[in-house]
């Protein structure tokens, strides 16, 4: 149990999340990728909090708590957006949503 292994795990999870965001077409699958990345970040916070001589060890934990809270908010919004997209197009394919093109 050392810092390297946690950081490596975090990197792997983050990479997998990235891959999902880039590769998947289903919006919910993309959301899954985002969750993976968030977890990778949380893991990093916890690990550094544990392995570095920090003055106040609650900070890392609090950060994770906040990330969890924000993730909840983010998912709520994202899912409602997905529902609207589905209602409009009867699909939830990221390739359909190109309103931002120049």
């Amino acid at each position: 149990m050392n810092l390297e292994s946690f950081v490596l795990l975090s990197l792997v999870l983050f990479t997998l999340g990235l891959y999902a965001v880039m590769a998947r077409r289903n919006l919910i699958a993309i959301l899954i990728g985002i969750e993976l990345m968030l977890n990778a970040a949380s893991l990093n916070f916890m690990a550094f909090n544990r392995f570095l001589p920090v003055e106040d060890p609650t900070v890392g934990q609090l950060f994770v708590l906040f990330i969890i809270g924000l993730a909840a908010a983010e998912v709520a919004i994202a899912l409602s957006i997905i529902l609207v997209v589905y209602r409009e197009r009867k699909r939830i394919d990221v390739d359909d949503i190109t309103e931002l093109k120049g």
Binding site: T15, F51, V84
Partner: protein, 179 residues
């Protein structure tokens, strides 16, 4: 302890692999759930059972369930969407490139070895966490609650069906119904 940690790590990676690779989104969500649980376990291992609990409660209990509901609402048919191999290859290439790059940077920077020396167990207590949360970081906490509130309201506003708006039938069509 080492074995437990290793197992949890392996579980996390395996769950993540499933989550990103399975075609069926429902299955992918289950993969995600595995990862989340494993990460919760790792939190416990890292000395914070409270955060681990929260992870289980909110993530696994709340978020994944919400996702499942969303999938249900948008019909299962839509869960199967095949990506072209080129797309997957490209994404994998970029992601791996990123991982290698960042990994190399991390290695280059170097990480501290071993457990930090002066660990005061008391500082890790839930009590301390609560004091800190409602003391020093009170403002952040309040802001976060506002964010959550807004997110809820926003989600409702966005996903609400516009039922009040009734599209009036074309006048001509109305005319036709009368002989």
């Amino acid at each position: 302890m080492g074995g437990m940690t290793g197992l949890l790590m392996a579980l996390a990676v395996a769950g993540a692999l499933l989550a990103v690779s399975l075609k069926n989104v429902l299955h992918a969500i289950f993969g995600l759930a595995v990862t989340l649980l494993a990460v919760a376990g790792l939190f416990v291992v890292l000395g914070s059972p409270f955060v681990g609990t929260m992870q289980v409660l909110i993530y696994v209990g709340g978020i994944t369930v919400a996702m499942v509901f969303a999938v249900m609402l948008s019909t299962v048919v839509q869960t199967h969407q095949a990506e072209s191999p080129w797309r997957r290859a490209g994404a994998a290439f970029v992601a791996v490139g990123f991982a290698v790059g960042v990994g190399l940077v991390i290695i280059g920077a170097g990480l501290p070895k071993g457990l930090a020396p002066a660990l005061i167990e008391d500082a890790w207590s839930v009590r301390q966490l609560g004091t800190s949360l409602l003391g020093d970081y009170n403002v952040v906490f309040e802001v976060l609650s506002v964010v959550l509130l807004l997110a809820i309201i926003g989600a409702i506003v966005i996903s609400r069906r516009e039922e009040d708006v009734v599209t009036p039938a074309p006048a001509a069509a109305v005319e036709e119904t009368h002989p």
